[in-house]
Symmetry: C2
């Protein structure tokens, strides 16, 4: 196990009707003026935005608004938000929405207190030294941004989709009401599930040895998701299953599952190139990329895949028998087959074709990947750009 | 799943040689004067106390000292600490030790800012409104106090051993170096393991339904402990196994495993009567009480015990077959047998006799229990005092 720091200071308020506590929470954390950041559509139509405003008013907290955040959020909205935030002198950014909204609020939170271009933080040109407070009312369980210090933004001009993280961006508080997720369409629900599973698996597949406690935590969260997700697809109003999925999405990404180990975020990087160019839903892109990544790994670094297949997918193996290399690949392959079958059962695509991208421009994605990440990707196995192209081809 | 708040703001610094960071961390959190709280013996002999002082000095932070905390910590040391803390105007209590030391530091932290008797917080006569900062250098993985807001203290005069909790007592930071635990005697190591397993199981056995995510987290941590603990007993210097156990002890008690569910802390209450009167090691007492509590439950509320036996102890059940009530009790009983065999394999007692208490004074423990907890205990099944006496008798 590697040395690590675990720090997840966010106060999570979870359960029915909890969005009515947002005003009291903002006051508790000393907010003077809130900027509400949201997308549009459902947050407005459902009346959630009005309930949030009413709660702030009741708590005597002034607010301004920034609507119109898009999925795969872009830099232009961040610039707009930074300007508004400075003008309004807001000191707490309240994201009401999913990952795109939260990530936009985080980028504004650090950009507003920085003299240069906020994009500097995403390209490693600057380190965040201070940020405004961030808080969340979550409506889509997927990105885990409600419990993380991460943000992913796309630069419109170049279509670069990049992520960065800082403990200074961890939300002060996050309000998670599973009721708010009952109106999510099945495809978005399923994409969220794929996203949170990827967050766990990108921590799980590691070369760091002797990490039984975090392995077991990863496997436990995956098991819970595998049990609960089909219930949510079957009955969108199943509150209990929604609650389990919503909390799993937080645990998947606040660091709980990744302590003490090297993590490999190749799949996210490979997917970002797809969604940046083709604007697909991030989770759906992951459902396509992750099995392909695993398939490539089965013949390059198989042992952890065997453990994954056995413990997570209950692939049977003879007890007490040492597996040959060939048998290991078989077990791993059966695990991957079960993962794909699971995604398919949720209505997710598992290939470019099912994403309706018949002829993905692999050279263009690889070129962009090289520009964003350099010549080698990941660590479970270090991937050359040719390896990455192979993985894209495995997903055709 | 019940509504809940999850709040674990402690910054955990984990790994080799991390105690050298204590000065820098205290400075980062704005400490002006530290009061070091410790037991004695090994913390001094091993040179740890000197290293902690050197780190504080290097960071330019003044400190005073309160040594001599005993296992099953008592109120008298708390009063002494409160007096010293006020006199020295310390603003951060740094516990260097295990649960007893940390719990003493927490009681001082809230007592020093309170005009009345700190014991008021333990008997529910007052609620903590403010507390001094608390931080930890952990030497014994067991109590989980490094990540919790809880404290357990014994009142010398009456031998009342009571616990209480407040988010205001959660440590600002906790330093966990598994190397420091390599010198722990096997019995203390094993007792710590029993304590952390109890912390999980007291959350696990609940009547709250549809808590798959926290069930799976509980089961995962138990599985990791069951895998790693024998390695530590076999080779006390196995750093990796020590690291897994140390982090498991934190996860077991910072709230991760208990979200959204009713918890049942009967076993801890039953044990506190034993250790208050007979001064046994808390974890060893739990190894005696918990199997007895489970045995009683097997014939009163069996379903969750079946899940426990199957998922945690791999007790085989016929797939797809509905179990009769009798078969459920059989499966549960086999699970309990495996738990006891596990404790025994670690060198722990599983009966009063093995604790060298041949004739426990059950009426006296019951009378004390009634005074401390009232006429009914717990919630998985509400226990009358007669039920509690039966459980003690099951442990003879």
């Amino acid at each position: 196990m590697n040395n690590f720091v675990f720090y997840s200071p966010t106060e999570f308020v979870f359960g029915k009707d909890t969005e009515t506590q947002v005003g009291a929470m903002a006051r508790k954390y000393g907010a003077r003026k809130v900027m509400i950041v949201y997308g549009g559509g459902s947050v407005v139509r459902s009346g959630l935005l009005d309930r949030v405003k009413a709660s702030l008013q009741e708590a005597g907290i002034a607010f301004c608004e920034l609507g119109g955040v898009q999925p795969n959020p872009i830099d232009l909205k961040v610039y707009e938000g930074i300007e508004l935030c400075r003008k309004e002198e807001a000191d707490l950014l309240l994201a009401v929405g999913g990952g795109s909204t939260i990530d936009t609020a985080k980028a504004i939170a650090c950009g507003a207190l920085y003299e240069g271009d906020f994009w500097d933080f995403f390209i490693g040109k600057a380190v965040i030294e201070k940020a405004l407070k961030v808080a969340v009312v979550l409506t889509i369980p997927a990105a885990g941004s409600e419990g993380s210090g991460n943000s992913v933004i796309t630069k419109t001009e170049t279509l670069q989709k990049l992520g960065m993280g800082s403990n200074k961006l961890r939300p002060l508080f996050s309000i998670l009401n599973p009721q708010l997720t009952c109106t999510l369409p099945p495809y978005q629900t399923a994409s969220g599930v794929a996203d949170m599973m990827a967050h766990i698996m990108e921590r799980y597949f590691t070369n760091t040895r002797e990490v039984e406690i975090s392995d077991r935590l990863c496997e436990g969260v995956l098991k819970a998701i595998i049990e609960e997700a089909p219930k949510v697809i079957k009955d969108p109003n199943d509150y209990e299953a929604r609650a389990n999925i919503m909390w799993s999405g937080m645990v998947a990404h606040n660091g709980t599952c990744g302590v003490g180990r090297e993590e490999d975020w190749s799949s996210h990087a490979l997917e970002h190139e797809i969604s940046a160019i083709y604007n697909v839903t991030h989770g759906a892109g992951l459902a396509v990329v992750f099995p392909a990544w695993l398939t490539w790994m089965a013949t390059h670094n198989v042992d952890k895949l065997v453990q994954y297949a056995v413990r997570v997918w209950d692939v049977p193996v003879p007890i007490g028998k040492l597996l040959s290399d060939e048998e290991k690949v078989d077990v791993a392959t059966e695990g991957i087959r079960r993962l794909k079958a699971f995604f398919t059962s949720l209505g997710l695509p598992v290939s470019f074709a099912e994403l309706h991208i018949e002829h993905p421009d692999i050279p263009r994605m690889i070129e962009s990947l090289r520009r964003n990440k350099g010549n080698l990707l990941g660590c479970y196995v270090k991937l050359t750009m040719e390896d990455c192209a192979d993985i894209y081809r495995l997903a055709l």
